[in-house]
C-alpha cells in the first residue's frame, strides 16, 4: 500500500475539529501537543495544564519567556485573560474529578473495549514514568487518543487486548489515527471516517479487532485542505 497516510500535523488538525466552543481541555504529549495550533479562530477552548494552569495560551515568544510559567513539557507558555494558577492537587481535582470536557492523549495501544496503554514500552530501558496520564484518562468526560495506526514494525496499535502496561481500562471514547476516526462503543469499534484514498477494508486489515462500518464511510475532513 503506497498511498500516503496522514501526517502527524494532519492527525492534529482533524483532532482539533473535535473541540467544541467553550470546552475545557487537556492535551498530552506527542501529537496532542500539536493540536492547539489548529483550533479554528471562531472556537474558544480553555487549555488546562496539570502543573496548575487554566487558560494557558501559546508558547512564549523568544526573549519573553518566564520560566515560572511553563507547560507540562517544560516549555515556557503564556496565560490568556481569564486564566488562573493553582496547585497540582487542584489541577488533578479537575482531571480526576471529571471537570475537563475533553482530554486528548497519545497512545501506544488501544483495545477493543477502550483500554489505553501509553506510558511504558515493555523491555524499554529506564524507569518509565506515569505523569498525569492515569488521572486524566480516568476522569475525562471524553477521552480522545491520537496516534499512528500502526507501530513502527507495522503491527496494529488498535488491538483486541493491550499487551503493554495499561494506563486505564475502559476509558477511550474516540481514536484518531493517520488512517481513520474510530469510536469506541458498547457494541465495539465503529469506523466513523477513513483517511482520503483509503477504503474501510484497508483500514480493517491494519486493525486487529473487528470494525463495524456502514456501506459508505466518509473521508476524514481536514480544515485546511
Amino acid at each position: 500500500m503506497s498511498k500516503a497516510r496522514l501526517t502527524r500535523e494532519q492527525i492534529a488538525e482533524r483532532a482539533a475539529m473535535e473541540l467544541p466552543d467553550g470546552a475545557y481541555v487537556n492535551l498530552g504529549w506527542g501529537i496532542p501537543n500539536l493540536i492547539a495550533a489548529y483550533v479554528p479562530p471562531e472556537v474558544t477552548v480553555h487549555f488546562h495544564s496539570e502543573n496548575g494552569i487554566l487558560g494557558m495560551g501559546p508558547r512564549a515568544k523568544a526573549g519573553e519567556e518566564d520560566f515560572d510559567l511553563v507547560d507540562a513539557m517544560k516549555v515556557p507558555v503564556t496565560l490568556l485573560p481569564g486564566g488562573s494558577y493553582f496547585s497540582q492537587d487542584d489541577a488533578h481535582v479537575m482531571t480526576r474529578g471529571g471537570h475537563l470536557d475533553i482530554c486528548i492523549l497519545g497512545g501506544l495501544q488501544v483495545s477493543e473495549r477502550g483500554d489505553l496503554a501509553n506510558w511504558r514500552v515493555p523491555g524499554a530501558k529506564g524507569a518509565g514514568g506515569i505523569g498525569g496520564a492515569m488521572d486524566i484518562s480516568v476522569g475525562a468526560q471524553k477521552l480522545i487518543v491520537t496516534m499512528e495506526h500502526s507501530a513502527k514494525d507495522g503491527s496494529p496499535k488498535i488491538v483486541t487486548t493491550c499487551s503493554y502496561p495499561l494506563t486505564a481500562i475502559d476509558c477511550v471514547d474516540t481514536i484518531i489515527t493517520d488512517l481513520a476516526v474510530i469510536d469506541v462503543t458498547p457494541d465495539g469499534l465503529v469506523l466513523r471516517e477513513v483517511a482520503p484514498g483509503f477504503t474501510p477494508e484497508e483500514v480493517q486489515e491494519l486493525t486487529e479487532p473487528k470494525l463495524r462500518y456502514s456501506a459508505k464511510v466518509p473521508e476524514m475532513r481536514l480544515q485546511r485542505r
Binding site: N51, Q88, A127, A133, D135, A168
Partner: protein
C-alpha cells in the same frame, strides 16, 4: 505564647540537622518551583541514604540530579522520574535505587490526605493496571476503586515567591505546583523564598500556604526570583 523565630540566617543552617536516612519531599515541576538552594545545601551537608518524594528525579545535575550524582538517595517515590534524570536512571538501571511510581494526581492526593489527617482513601486511578496490583479493591456505587495510603515525610523542602517572617507564603505562576501540598505533609517544612517581608504586609486574602505549615524560612539566592 512567644513566637518562635523561623527565619534562618543561611541555607546551610537551614539544612544542617537533616539526618542520614531521612525522607524528604521536594516541590517543583518542569523547572519551576524547585527548592534548588536547599538541594545544593543538602549536597554540601552530605546526608546519605535519603528517601525522596518528588514528581521527578532531576535534569542532568540540575534540581535533584545533584543529590543523585552524589549518591545521597536510595529510595524514590515519583510520578515521572524523567528521561533527563541521567544519574537517577543510571543508578536505577544498576539496581541501586528503590522506586515506587505513583500517578501524579494520586501522589498529590496521598500527601494531601496525610496533611489532612486521612489515613487512606479509595481512588479510581490505576484500577485494572499494575498500579492497582496488591491493593485492596472495593466496588462503590457500581464502580471499582483501589485503596491508596496517605503519604507523609520527615521534611518538605519547598520554594515560594514571598514569605513573611511568620511563614505565610505566596507563590508565583506555575512555580506553585507541588509546594503547598508538601508543606502540609511533613513533620518539618523548610521554605526557600525569593523575598522575606514583614509580618502583616502580605494580603491575607492571597496567602496560599498559611504560616502553621512552615517551620523554617530562608532567603534564596540566584536571579530567578525578584
Amino acid at each position: 505564647m512567644t513566637s518562635k523565630e523561623k527565619v534562618y540566617p543561611t541555607i546551610d543552617a537551614a539544612v544542617a540537622d537533616i539526618p542520614d536516612g531521612a525522607t524528604i519531599m521536594f516541590g517543583g515541576f518542569g523547572g519551576a518551583g524547585f527548592p534548588n538552594n536547599l538541594i545544593q545545601g543538602l549536597a554540601r551537608q552530605g546526608a546519605r541514604n535519603l528517601g525522596v518524594i518528588s514528581n521527578n528525579c532531576g535534569t542532568g545535575e540540575g534540581e535533584l540530579g545533584l543529590l543523585f550524582k552524589n549518591r545521597q538517595i536510595s529510595r524514590v517515590i515519583a510520578a515521572f522520574p524523567g528521561p533527563g534524570a541521567k544519574y537517577f536512571q543510571e543508578q536505577f538501571d544498576a539496581g541501586e535505587i528503590e522506586l515506587e511510581l505513583v500517578p501524579q494526581g494520586i501522589l498529590c492526593e496521598r500527601m494531601r490526605a496525610f496533611g489532612a489527617g486521612i489515613p487512606a482513601f479509595f481512588s479510581p486511578v490505576g484500577v485494572g493496571t499494575e498500579i492497582g496490583r496488591g491493593k485492596e479493591e472495593r466496588v462503590i456505587r457500581g464502580k471499582r476503586y483501589i485503596l491508596e495510603q496517605a503519604l507523609g515525610a520527615d521534611y518538605a523542602f519547598v520554594r515560594a515567591y514571598r514569605a513573611d517572617r511568620m511563614g505565610n507564603l505566596v507563590y508565583r505562576k506555575a512555580a506553585r505546583n507541588f509546594n503547598p501540598i508538601m508543606a502540609t505533609a511533613a513533620k518539618s517544612t523548610i521554605v526557600e523564598v525569593g523575598q522575606i517581608v514583614a509580618t502583616g504586609s502580605l494580603d491575607p486574602e492571597t496567602i496560599v500556604t498559611p504560616s502553621i505549615f512552615i517551620d523554617r524560612i530562608v532567603q534564596a539566592e540566584g536571579k530567578r526570583y525578584v
